[in-house]
C-alpha cells in the first residue's frame, strides 16, 4: 500500500480560516478544500456524502469557541461531529476519520499543513471501509425453488 494516498475533504469557515489569502493560492496547495461560511452549515449528509464520493477522512475547521459570527454554528458543528463519530464507530469505521479543529488562521497557512497531518494519520489506517462488506451485484437468478 506504499502508493496509497488518502483523500481528505476539508471544510473551513471563511470567518476564521484563510480570509486574508487568495482562495486560488490556498486551494492550489491542497485538494478537496471547501471554504464556506459557518461550519454550522455542514449537514451530517454532507459528511457521509464526502465519504461516498471517495474521501478517506474529513477535516472541519471552525471558528474558535465563542467566536462564531452566527453565535453557535461552530458549537453545533462540534456536536454533530461527535455524534457522527459515534455513528461511524458503531458501523465499525474508525472515528478518527472525522476531525474538527476550532481555532483561527486568517492567513490560512496552517490549512494545508493540517490536511497533510491528517493524511499522514489516515495513511496508517488505510483506505476508508465505505462498506463493511464488499458489494457484489446479485447474479442473474438461478433456478429457485419455484421450479420451471
Amino acid at each position: 500500500m506504499s502508493d496509497y494516498e488518502p483523500k481528505v475533504v476539508c471544510f473551513s469557515c471563511k470567518f476564521s480560516w484563510g480570509y486574508l489569502t487568495d482562495e486560488d493560492t490556498l486551494s492550489s496547495k491542497m485538494d478537496n478544500w471547501v471554504p464556506l461560511i459557518c461550519t454550522g452549515k455542514i449537514d451530517a449528509t454532507h459528511m457521509l456524502d464526502a465519504f461516498r464520493a471517495g474521501a478517506d477522512g474529513i477535516l472541519i475547521l471552525g471558528c474558535p469557541e465563542g467566536d462564531c459570527h452566527y453565535q453557535d454554528g461552530n458549537y453545533e458543528a462540534k456536536k454533530r461531529v461527535y455524534l457522527i463519530r459515534r455513528l461511524l464507530e458503531s458501523m465499525g469505521i474508525d472515528k478518527g476519520r472525522i476531525r474538527i479543529v476550532l481555532s483561527a488562521d486568517p492567513e490560512g497557512e496552517s490549512i494545508p499543513k493540517l490536511v497533510a497531518e491528517m493524511r499522514r494519520d489516515l495513511a496508517k489506517l488505510g483506505p476508508a471501509k465505505k462498506r463493511p462488506v464488499k458489494e457484489r451485484k446479485p447474479k442473474e437468478a438461478t433456478k429457485g425453488r419455484g421450479g420451471t
Partner: protein, 322 residues
C-alpha cells in the same frame, strides 16, 4: 369487462405485511369482488408457473413486500415486474430493506458461521453449510443462492410506488388500493403516504418547550416516560423529526418513541444522517468531555438510526457504487 388482476407477494418478509392486508377486514371482500387476486402465497394456493404463463403486463398491480437476499426472491421480483403494469413496494423491507437490512453490518460468512456453526444451539459435526447446488446420489439438488447483501426492492427491479411502514397501516393500504382501482394515482415513484414529518401530527408536539435541551440520553426501558410529553424533551431518542408521517402514531399511542419505519420524508435520502443535526442541536453540553459523555450514552447508533433503512443509507447503499 374483465376484472383487473392483482398479485400480492412476499419475498424476505415476516408475514406482517400480508397480515396488514388482511387487517383491512371486510373491505377485503369488496376488493376481492373488484379484482382478481391471481397470486397471494401466504393466503391462497397459486403456482408461480401460472404467473409465468401470463402475458407481459397482464397483472394490473403487484403488491410486493419483503427484502431481497437470495436468488429465489430476486427471480420472483423480476417475474412480477415483467408481468405487472405497476409494482407497489409494500412495507419497510421492500421500501428500504427493513430490519433484516441490519444484517448488512455482518458479512455473509459471519452469518453462516454463526447460524450453522457457532450458535450455542447448533450441532453440526460435519460442518455442513447450505450450498446453491450439491450432488446427492448422482442427482443435483439446488437451493436459492444466499446473497452477500440485503437489498431493498428497487435495488433489484423498477418500482412504481412505495408504501412504507412496519407494517403499513390499514387506512393507507385502503387508500393505495382505491387509488389503483379508481386510477387516481400520483406520479410514478411517489410514496403513498403523507409528505411531512411525524412531529407535524404528533399530539405530543405541543408539549415541547421552545428550545429542547437535554443533558442525558435515556433509553425507553430505563425510565417511566410521560405519555403526554415529547420524547426528545424527556431525553429519549425519538426519530419523529426525520421520519415520514402516516403511521397513525401506533408507537406513540403506546408510549414508545418513533423508530423510523416510515423512512425519510420526500427529498431526503438518508433519514439517519438527517436526524443527526436535529439531535445534535438539543444536546446541552459545551466541553468536549460533556459532549463525549452524552454522545456515549447513545447506545447502538447505527441500529437505532437505521433500524429500517440500512440498505438504502448513504454508507450502505449498493447503488452508490454503480
Amino acid at each position: 369487462m374483465a376484472k383487473p388482476k392483482i398479485a400480492i407477494c412476499w419475498l424476505g418478509s415476516c408475514g406482517g405485511c400480508d397480515e396488514a392486508v388482511v387487517d383491512i377486514n371486510e373491505v377485503l371482500l369488496r376488493v376481492a369482488d373488484a379484482v382478481d387476486i391471481i397470486l397471494w402465497p401466504v393466503a391462497m394456493d397459486f403456482k408461480y408457473d401460472s404467473v409465468r404463463r401470463m402475458k407481459n403486463g397482464e397483472i394490473a398491480l403487484s403488491v410486493v413486500n419483503g427484502h431481497v437476499r437470495n436468488s429465489e426472491q430476486e427471480e420472483i421480483a423480476k417475474l412480477l415486474r415483467e408481468k405487472s403494469q405497476l409494482i407497489l413496494a409494500f412495507g419497510a423491507c421492500a421500501c428500504f430493506g427493513g430490519t433484516p437490512g441490519l444484517a448488512n453490518l455482518s458479512t455473509k460468512e459471519d452469518i453462516f458461521n454463526w447460524v450453522y456453526r457457532d450458535a450455542p444451539t447448533v450441532v453440526n459435526p460435519n460442518g455442513n453449510y447450505p450450498q446453491a447446488a450439491s450432488r446427492v446420489n448422482g442427482k443435483e439438488l439446488t437451493l436459492p443462492e444466499f446473497y452477500d447483501h440485503v437489498h431493498a426492492l428497487n435495488d433489484i427491479i423498477d418500482v412504481d410506488y412505495y408504501l412504507p411502514g412496519c407494517p403499513p397501516p390499514p387506512y393507507l393500504v385502503m387508500y393505495a388500493v382505491s387509488a389503483v382501482l379508481e386510477n387516481k394515482l400520483p406520479p410514478k415513484g411517489s410514496t403513498l403516504a403523507p409528505n411531512r414529518a411525524l412531529c407535524d401530527s404528533c399530539k405530543r408536539n405541543k408539549s415541547k418547550p421552545d428550545r429542547i435541551s437535554i443533558k442525558e440520553i435515556k433509553r425507553i426501558h430505563e425510565v417511566e416516560a410521560d405519555p403526554d410529553v415529547c420524547f426528545l424533551a424527556q431525553g429519549i431518542i425519538c426519530l419523529g423529526p426525520a421520519t415520514r408521517d402516516g403511521c397513525g402514531e401506533a408507537c406513540m399511542n403506546i408510549n414508545i418513541p418513533c423508530r423510523g419505519c416510515f423512512g425519510p420524508v420526500e427529498g431526503v435520502e438518508d433519514s439517519g444522517a438527517k436526524f443527526i443535526p436535529a439531535m445534535a442541536s438539543i444536546l446541552d453540553a459545551e466541553s468536549d468531555e460533556d459532549i463525549t459523555r452524552i454522545v456515549n450514552q447513545f447506545v447502538d447508533p447505527v441500529g437505532y438510526l437505521y433500524r429500517f433503512s440500512l440498505p438504502v443509507s448513504i454508507f450502505h447503499n449498493k447503488r452508490a457504487e454503480k
